[in-house]
Amino acid sequence: MVDALRRTHEVLMPDGVVIDVHPTVEPAAVDVGGETVGHVETEDAPQRHAAADAAVRAVVDEGLFRVDRIAHFDFHTYGDSIEELRDYIAANWRAARINDVVMQRTRASLLVSAPGVKPRVRERVRLTLLRRLAPS
């Protein structure tokens, strides 16, 4: 990760910027109607996201970039059903799954929810804007 950021320093114009978008270490939540009923199980996602944060800190400490701005937002992925979300995550996320307990809780919550409410996965995401600096 640090190597990738160093490489970008080489290809960027002197006044260039890096925009890094990646999830925070907060576990991805499964929501129904805005209420959290459980979380997505992952093998190493918090560690990977923490490593990305550390890589950003490293290139800032090296004097290659400075942090211009940080913003956070929630990224929602909706499915027509919890089964659809489960299958999507199993197919598209790395080493992640919605376990049976969360599946059951979600189904129970959907049963008492207003018509049309869809389950969603909510990820907290950080956007970091890095400004290129000339190495000292």
């Binding site: 890589a55 929630d74 995401v125």
Partner: protein, 94 residues
Amino acid sequence: MAIDEDPEGHEAAAFASSDVLLAARRVLEIGCGNGRLTKQYAHVAASVIAIDPDAGAVAELARELPMVDARPISVAELRVHAHSIDVVLFSWSL
């Protein structure tokens, strides 16, 4: 049956609030996948190089966004001139 990603547009809003102008800029996107994010800015950028090791996803992007220089490679395999890019975007890939 349909998966709907970020229908509220929170990601686009975060980009807008970052004050980074992608219009008329030379952009390198790392980890472009199938171009979910690329579609939001490719039409206004001066040029876009989009890379991802997932050849299938990159092929999908290339079909949909033919103006993008889409390459199924990793950062280590990237060959571009020094100081030739205005904005590098790590798209959920760092």
